[in-house]
């Protein structure tokens, strides 16, 4: 495990020494502050409106951070040739993938925490109350979803050599799943065979990122999922993370690395 943690540590250092995170954080903060100063939609409850905007920005920003960070890990190691001195040590390719995943996941977890601290402070200034259990569940579910996103992006990074292609494809897939993933079964009902079966299969195979989206519940002060539901969501995310990382390892372990 030492090796996995050592690799993860380098990923975290890279994230906070690069400017991406700071740019996204400052942009999100500015947009939230600007939006919070004017009530565009005449929302009667200002705090609900600020929460809505701020949570949307947190989701969007952390998703971007997760995809960009994960997409460049293995291609950058190859391109910068840092992978050679690393794999010349007693490090297996499986440990490299596990370290990269853990590093990206912890790094985005830190980013989520920073964003949420800002969110809690902003909502507090607009009269919001300290719903710590609600916020904890919301943070946890978002972090689990980002774990799935990171594992999926790592898989993409060993299949597609160009970081930009992988980033674009992953973002399109994630946004697609978030928007239409939950409706695929209804769409399937209206189709004839074989499209019906294909759509149903797709519905059951794709990772349903939308089940981790509890923004609406937070904004409207609705009851959050029970601990049991959160536990099941953790198992669901864990299964997809394992499957994605296993596929990544299967592909990566066979790749030739020529110096």
């Amino acid at each position: 495990m030492n090796t996995v943690f050592a690799i993860a540590g380098v990923v975290i250092k890279e994230l906070y020494r690069r400017k991406d995170f700071y740019v996204l954080f400052v942009l999100s903060a500015l947009i939230t502050i600007a939006a919070g100063s004017v009530n565009f939609f005449k929302d009667l409850v200002m705090v609900r409106y600020v929460k809505d905007i701020c949570l949307l920005l947190i989701w969007f920003s952390t998703l971007i951070i997760a995809v960009i960070t994960a997409a460049r890990q293995i291609p950058a190691e190859k391109e910068n040739r840092t992978i050679f001195p690393l794999l010349a040590k007693p490090v297996s390719r499986g440990q490299l993938i596990a370290g990269k995943f853990l590093g990206c996941w912890l790094a985005t977890g830190l980013a989520v925490l920073v964003f949420y601290v800002f969110f809690i402070l902003v909502t507090a200034t607009k009269g919001g109350d300290w719903q710590l259990v609600t916020y904890s569940k919301s943070i946890g579910l978002l972090w689990l979803m980002l774990g799935m996103v990171i594992a999926m992006t790592l898989l993409g990074s060993v299949v597609l050599s160009a970081v930009s292609s992988n980033t674009t494809i992953c973002l399109v897939v994630i946004i697609g799943v978030l928007f239409i993933g939950e409706h695929l079964n209804k769409i399937a009902l209206r189709q004839s065979e074989p499209v019906k079966s294909i759509t149903y299969t797709l519905y059951y195979v794709i990772p349903h990122f939308e089940i981790f989206d509890v923004r609406n519940l937070v904004v409207n002060n609705k009851p959050m999922p029970s601990l049991k539901a959160c536990g099941l969501a953790t198992l669901y995310a864990g299964a997809y993370v394992t499957a994605f990382l296993y596929c990544t390892w299967l592909i990566f372990r066979r790749q030739r690395l020529n110096t």
Partner: protein, 252 residues
Amino acid sequence: METILKTDKLRVEYSTGEFQKTPKVALQGLTLEVRAGEVFGFLGPNGAGKTTTMNVLLGFVPPTSGSASLFGIDVRQPIARQRIGYLPELTYYYKFLTAEELLRFYAKIFGLKGSEADKRIEQLISLVELGHAAKRPIKGYSKGMQQRVGLAQALINNPDLLILDEPTSGLDPIGRMKVREIIQRLKNEGKTVFFSSHEMGEVETVCDRVAIIYQGELKEEGRVADLVAKHRAANLEQAFLNIIGYKPAVAP
């Protein structure tokens, strides 16, 4: 004497393209043995298969057939690399880290912790004379300084075998001299060094034995003096050119 590095009928083929069926043979039947305490020079012109051999030894490329082992362990097992240090020809490290952080990272991989790691890092930084820059990010280092960081990382685990791929390539004369001194020092400490180089003078100075590889095949192997005598050459460079069959276009 213990065999540290061994290849047996090693063959490596690369596919040249999706539609072209004939693979390119990078190595054919390479059999080598390097024994404990030797400084072994691995010579050959560009494209001869030196880097491919190193890639197989380091587990980057799987052999098509044959086998390779380090300390008797198949190179496909990561544990085979526990007692080696590797310096690539082109040294690229995480440029957002300082030299000290980089060495600490590699030390962790080898399970070195706390005061043991601190002591080792301090020793290496002093050995490669980077004390003044150890806390600066590597992105600000000159090529020579990066090569020295490379050498330090290759020595972090106090390896019994050092694999050096053109260690003096692109260095100025002082840098070359320093690398040679370090190789000599390691030799005196009884370490095994396996290195490829184009610098025949350097090889002649530091190597106990050499192997000459050409077009993926081992052409000659033996002590420098024996090869020079066998080919009735004035020096290793001339012997090398004879062995690979080089005919000068203009007679000297």
